[in-house]
């Protein structure tokens, strides 16, 4: 079975995540999802599972900050909660201090929580409005029977001061604080049990820029002082660049690239990372703006594309081996295929379409014949047939569709390892975890078993 993630393994790492999956059952209830079939066994359960996290592996070393970046809906928050075992993983393992959290539950799991904490995105809702700040900070200590009452109060006050608040605010309610201050209370609460590892889920994205910087600085100071390890989740690449040591980029439930910060930002080896970096605006009017933006929508995580998940939007999809088109002609075919899929035009005249999509290069040979066929369908308004030919014979034949990519590539700028899930890297790869063609995801034995268990 393919290991769909970075093929690295560092036994020294504080946290090791291995092929972690979290699928959500879309429907609930006793009879939800049951469908009647024409064939035996007549009844089946439809798999409308949302594959929020679908085979993610990475390590976090002690004392480092791993940045996790991705667009909304890519599964990063679910990953964070699954790593901390707030959600039960569908499959895979999370080794923390030598124990597999995925196997733990109940009291042993609760005890483990002393060493791993979390900071939430929304400073408004992450503090119980009914509790004073002091008891909020003391609550984790109490849960793990740390210190006596006086000791906890003293420690809470000390921590409040550490995170930049006035210890006299011990008796205040959260609503008396601003967003940035509340995020500091969150920090103090997380630190109270002296954890080794903190997951920070977008901790600064709800804050104003100037406040963001204050909180980020405090987090860095605390990391140094308490020797903390962070998993830092954000959608803002600027923040990630500032705080991380290494960065993982997520797309549709997968990690597509993982490398040291400088390496990733200066030498990205995945087209999605590239696109994401190009899309960030720079606070400088002389920077020349953004380039080459992505088109199309993120596909549904219920039925993600086979192979590389980014292939439906990737500007660099690889040409299937069976054709021999020029690069330009292939790009035109891809663009045309996506346009047909989105029904982005109404034109049905083949010549007009040719001049619109195949101005500079027309595919010849087999590819040309197939294209003619597709254009013919469009002329007769048979859009579904045209779409079928174009996707089945072109898009789905690409190595990007048939094989799930996983490569380790050389790092050019740093000593760290560089993982990239892109077939463009197959020639330069040091190692690869691609040893069999990815079969249709739904048909995987592993996936089938876990769903039946739900």
């Amino acid at each position: 079975m393919t290991e769909v993630g970075p093929p690295e393994s560092d036994p020294e790492a504080l946290l090791q995540v291995r092929d972690l999956k979290k699928h959500f059952d879309n429907e609930s209830g006793l009879l939800a999802g049951v469908q009647l079939d024409d064939e035996f066994p007549y009844v089946s359960r439809s798999t409308s599972d949302v594959r929020a996290v679908d085979g993610v592996s990475f390590d976090i070393k002690e004392g480092e900050t791993l940045g996790l970046v991705g667009e909304s809906g890519c599964g990063k928050s679910t990953l964070a909660r699954t790593v901390l075992r707030l959600l039960e993983p569908t499959s895979g393992s999370v080794y923390f201090q030598g124990e597999d959290l995925a196997e733990l539950s109940g009291e042993p799991l609760r005890r483990m929580r002393k060493d791993m904490q979390m900071i939430f995105q929304d400073p408004q809702s992450s503090l119980d409005p009914r509790m004073k700040v002091g008891p909020i900070v003391e609550e984790p200590m109490k849960a793990h029977d740390m210190l006596d009452e006086e000791g906890r109060e003293a420690r809470a006050k000390e921590l409040l001061e550490k995170v930049g608040l006035d210890p006299q605010h011990y008796n205040r309610y959260p609503h008396a604080f601003s967003g940035g201050q509340r995020q500091r209370v969150n920090l103090a609460r997380a630190l109270s049990v002296n954890p080794d590892f903190i997951v920070c889920d977008e901790p600064v994205s709800a804050l104003d820029v100037s406040i963001q910087a204050q909180v980020l600085n405090t987090m860095e100071e605390l990391q140094e002082e308490f020797d903390l390890t962070y998993l830092f989740i954000a959608h803002d690449l600027s923040v990630i660049r500032h705080i991380s040591d290494r960065v993982a980029v997520m797309y549709l439930g997968n990690v597509v690239e993982l490398a040291d910060k400088e390496e990733l930002f200066e030498n990205p080896k995945h087209p999605y990372t590239r696109a994401l970096l190009d899309a960030i605006p720079v606070p400088d009017p002389r920077s020349g703006g953004r380039k080459a933006l992505l088109s199309g929508d993120v596909p549904s995580p219920i039925d993600p594309p086979s192979g590389c998940r980014f292939r439906t939007r990737c500007p660099k999809v690889i040409q299937p081996d069976e054709y021999d088109m020029t690069e330009d002609a292939w790009r035109n075919v891809v663009e045309f295929q996506r346009a047909v899929e989105r029904r982005a035009f109404e034109e049905t005249d083949p010549d007009a379409l040719r001049s619109r999509y195949f101005e500079n290069a027309v595919p010849s040979g087999d590819a040309g014949t197939l294209l003619d066929e597709a254009l013919g369908h469009i002329e007769r308004d048979e859009w579904d047939d045209a779409e079928q030919i174009l996707s089945e014979r072109f898009a789905d034949q690409s190595v990007c569709a048939t094989t799930t990519p996983a490569y380790e590539v050389p790092s050019d700028l740093t000593d760290g390892r560089h993982y990239s899930a892109c077939h463009l890297r197959r020639d330069e790869a040091l190692a690869s975890a691609v040893d069999e063609p990815a079969v249709d995801d739904a048909a995987r034995p592993g996936a089938g078993v876990t769903e039946a268990d739900d």
Partner: protein, 373 residues
Amino acid sequence: MSEPLLSVRDLKTQFFTEDGTVRAVDGISFDVHEGEIVGLVGESGAGKSVATSSILRLVDSPGEIVGGEIEFKGETIFGLEEGDDGELRPRDEMLTEEEMRKRIRGREIAIIFQDPMESLNPVFTVGGQLREFIEINRDLGAEEAKEEAIDMLREVGIPAPESRYDEYPHQFSGGMRQRVLIAMALACQPDLIIADEPTTALDVTVEGEILEMVTELQDKYDTSFIWVTHDMSVVAEICDRVNVMYLGEIIEQAEVDDLFHDTKHPYTSALLDSMPRPDRTVDELRPIQGVMPEAIDPPAGCRFHSRCPEAREVCREVHPEPRELSDEGEAPHTAACVKHDAFGVGYDESPPIETEATGGFSAGFTETGGEAE
């Protein structure tokens, strides 16, 4: 320079609450010329949104425009004069509520709101909502308006607009809804569009697409924009001229390049310094200390003095009005900071304030917390 399209002078909008009067917008002045994208930038609570709703005279109770003038293409959107009894009253030429509705809102000035999820009515089709606004503001019949609506949806990059015309907002993604809102604004063919943080709720890639599209369409239709945002990167990318707001006031006003490369107000530079950069690794961020004070009780003197790294004693006393600081022949550049010689209030001789802002990070917070005591 030609007559401005929109001219705002000394606009004051206040909210009368139980706790006191909130001076949300406190005497701001700016112009928008034809074909320009003017930025209005500031942090939460700076008064940006109140300023824009004041322009359309759509301030919700208990808010009220209490002073200043708003002129648009020679018409008075807002203006007061002193009556016989010394009371302020609307000037005769000020547009009535009816005229605002029929002639200005939508038709001349359109608005794009921040939240694409909430701004569209969930129970009507996207096309129907768009068509209604076109019918009202362009005097078109239902059929023509529908055609226009479909064209506009295509223009803003919505695939298969004929079939999506009949879909409901919940069937659209956030980015697509924001495109619909932009289509609404453009379809009414106004001269000015107010974009109130239209991309804040979106992912960067989607934001990029939308900004690119707006730039293209702006060239095509030559519409002027007021672009409200808290994001300096967006400002850098899209605006021609920028107004920086702090606590109800515009503290710096310049062309975009000057603002970033010849910054004249300490707040603007502090804001720029506090941002992490995507294009290079910054080792240490320099945050602005403290939090923005309440608009209900703004600090005396310069409103930024409590957080300003360059504050001196004089800043506590003198409240600076924005002044023109550019040299002869340069583009206008105004800022409201007494450190510039043009103010001549003895900044250089004044001793620095021993503020919390200079005393390390933790003190800064205890101070703001203390303020609430």
